[in-house]
């Protein structure tokens, strides 16, 4: 009996609360009585719960139960808002901090400002309204808080909400035919997408990377997914130790990347061809590359190196030992500019980790020889460069030799590429036949120019002496001749 009393009491309270809320909204009462869908949805709408009547959006007089008076256009009734009118009704309250405060809401009030500047704020193909209105994402009569799991913009629902348009090839080609429409499919294959599907609201979904109301095109430098901004965007979560704690992965990727050759090019030099996080991990389908696919990932840019490595004896050995290919020697996020020190078997070299005087001896000898050659080439290039500078400072015309010095540097770069074949013969042909041979020519030409400089000085000295002697003899002759007269 007690239980029955309790249920009755709770039911009474619920109905009373609804009655009290709806008491001032005659529109809702009437439509609810007819059992139509909008009023059904509106029952759970945050606005309904906050006591905002239908007239808040549709205009008119909600307090009157007379249909003519309630839907009187003179009283501001607009019926179903159309086009931009929809968003304009929303911003009456949502752009006004005072109004929002009255309803106890502490959400931002700049959504419309952001939307109008965003890619979604552009004119739709009919040329009359924005592409996206508030209700496109938030729905119309059943709007709930973002934190409510039934909200279409709740993290677990958002990918699907965005995909309503972005996975619709027919719709998307009206605006951006080049844009892919498989983002959702890829997302579902990513770590983020898989965890999101399992109910993890912390993992990245569309809005985490792209933003929500102020989404800008990828090519816009202010976009959070503009190539230069991507590392910071990813780092928002991936560099946050406490946020990432439960995922058990490192959080120093951004720190390492920003100091790496790629990071410096991208973040400091703003070289747009340098890779950002998504270049290796993918974007919508973001996953860490597998051990055997690393050379494929790096190879998208470093194609020749990847090709040489794949054909080299190291490919098989690395696969067998499950060594991550490029990463084994170069590292991953903190890749530094490669130096000669990487090669060889001395302290700090990579080859020596596997090739020792007792183990993998052939490789040990080859690595040692290769290091000797590349060091010789570097030394020879530096020497040639210093000689050219010396000759130039002496005012000698040495531009041809200076131009040839580029070929030496080119040979060094080629050597650093061909080293990925781990083939001594090929390496020799580049370093010795091309690099050192050219370098020797440059050294010889520069030395000749310096020699020529001193030759000119000596030649001048002799010429000046001869001419001065002639002048002196002539002077004496004139004096003698004029004295004689």
């Amino acid at each position: 009996m007690k239980k029955l009393t309790m249920i009755f009491f709770i039911g009474f309270i619920f109905l009373a609360a609804n009655y009290i809320q709806a008491a001032g909204d005659e529109c809702f009462n009437c439509h609810d009585a007819q059992g139509d869908n909008p009023s059904e949805l509106f029952k759970n709408d945050i606005h309904h719960k906050k006591g905002i009547p239908c007239s808040g959006c549709h205009g008119g007089n909600s307090k009157s139960d007379d249909m003519d008076a309630a839907m009187n256009k003179d009283a501001g009734f607009i019926g179903v808002p159309k086009g931009n009118q929809i968003s304009e009704r929303c911003i009456i309250c949502h752009s006004n901090p005072e109004t929002m405060k009255e309803y106890g809401a502490d959400i931002p009030t700049n959504q419309m400002e952001l939307l109008s500047k965003s890619v979604h704020g552009r004119l739709s193909i009919n040329g009359k309204e924005r592409i996206v209105q508030c209700i496109t994402c938030h729905n119309a009569h059943g709007i709930v808080e973002v934190t409510n799991p039934v909200s279409p913009v709740y993290p677990l629902n958002l990918p699907k909400t965005c995909a309503k348009c972005h996975s619709n090839a027919v719709y998307m080609r009206n605006y951006n035919p080049a844009l892919a429409v498989d983002q959702l499919d890829k997302y579902r294959t990513s770590i983020h997408g898989i965890k999101n599907a399992k109910g993890d609201i912390k993992v990245a979904e569309c809005a985490n990377c792209h933003g929500s109301h102020g989404i800008l095109p990828v090519k816009d430098a202010n976009s959070s997914v503009y190539v230069v901004n991507i590392p910071q965007t990813c780092a928002k979560c991936h560099s946050n130790k406490s946020y990432m704690k439960e995922y058990n992965i490192p959080t120093n990727q951004y720190e390492e990347f920003s100091k790496s050759v790629h990071g410096i090019d991208l973040l400091e030099k703003h070289d747009l061809s340098a890779p950002a996080c998504n270049s290796c991990h993918g974007n919508h389908g973001a996953v860490p590359p597998g051990v055997e696919s690393i050379s494929e990932v790096c190879g998208t840019c470093h194609a020749l190196n990847a090709e040489l490595f794949s054909a080299s004896p190291h490919k098989k050995a690395f696969d067998e030992h499950h060594y991550p290919e490029c990463e084994t020697c170069h590292g991953n996020h903190g890749i530094a500019v490669p130096t000669n020190q990487l090669l060889g078997v001395s302290k700090g070299s990579i080859c020596g980790k596997c090739h020792t005087p007792n183990e993998n001896v052939d490789g040990y000898k080859v690595a040692k020889h290769m290091r000797l050659l590349i060091d010789s080439l570097s030394y020879s290039e530096d020497f040639a460069d210093s000689l050219i500078n010396n000759a130039e400072q002496k005012g000698m015309e040495i531009s041809e030799a200076k131009f040839k010095l580029r070929d030496v540097n080119q040979a060094k770069l080629e050597a650093r590429t061909i080293v990925h074949a781990f083939n001594e013969e090929k390496f020799d042909s580049i370093v010795v036949k091309k690099g050192l041979a050219t370098s020797n020519i440059v050294i010889s030409e520069a030395q000749n120019a310096i020699h020529e400089y001193y030759f000119r000085r000596v030649g001048l000295g002799i010429s000046v002496l001869i001419i001065s002697f002639l002048a002196f003899v002539l002077y004496l002759y004139i004096k003698r001749m004029e004295r004689g007269k």
Binding site: G395, L460, A471, L474
Partner: protein
Amino acid sequence: MKNFFNKVYFWFDDRVHLESLVEFMGKKYVPIHRHSMWYYFGGVSLFLFIIQVVTGILLLFYYKASTDLAFESVQFIMSKVQFGWLIRSIHAWAANLFIFSVFIHMFSVFFEKAYRKPREVTWITGALMFFLALGFGFSGYLLPWNQLSFFATKVGSDIVGAIPLIGEPVKIFMRGGNDVTGATLSRLFGFHVALFPGIFTFLLIIHLVLVQRQGMSEPLEFETKKPVAEKKKMPFFPNFMLRDLLLWLIVLNVLAILAVFFPAHLGIKADPFSSAPAGIKPEWYFLFMFQTLKYFPAHIVFMEGEVLGILLFGLAGLLWLLVPFWDIKSSKGKQNRLINYIGIFAVIFIIVLTILGWTS
């Protein structure tokens, strides 16, 4: 040996009667006074011109006047041709010394009033050769086709283009089109190695013949105040000529030292699409005019300041050329201090403006 030279002399004398020429030269004297040293600058200018002709011909063996090859051919001369660097450096330095020497020679003649009757034509041919020397400098500057010369030619020809009425057609004629291009290079090369040397040689022959025919001019006070018996003089041949030769040897030494210690540079190849190098300036002998034009306001009364400046320089040049005809006083053997003041003003003006242009 002496017999051999005698035989050669008599061989020629037998055919062209050298005797009268030797007799003429034997009677030719150069006056000796406190301003005699200025006589030598005519000879120095002639010597430097001969060097220009000889080194110019040697450069012609390798130089190629096209936008594709001009810079490279000069680079080749500087780096590959035996003593090419020396020939080009001497050509460049001798050009500067030549203009400097011509300046001195011309002003010494001006201050001595040596242009007065009967030497009006000698003065005019000399003044025209001075203008041609500037033309040599302007046309030769572009030939290496480097960045500096390209833009200097652009600026220089733009200034010519500002002359009212004739400026634009003259500019187009100089450039061989609307802009400085390969056509300009070919054209200025033609001026530099054919047209200008031809006219210059013609004027030089007249100038030298007149100097020989009329003898050295004497300063007014020397000519009028001293009795003929008290006038010191020296034979032109061999005394003056040997002294000339001595000075030429000294100039040759200076030239060799300059060419070795400060060889001509090549710079970087001209790129018509690049922006002009900052602070671009013309050669030093144009600097005083370039700097003066900078001081003119944008507009003076009804015309552009720059145009007025160019017209004033044109007028000054014309008055300079025609000085024997308006300085009647000197021609009558009277002192004309105004000429001295004009000359002093011109020298100070040129020096000060050149220094200002150089340091700005």
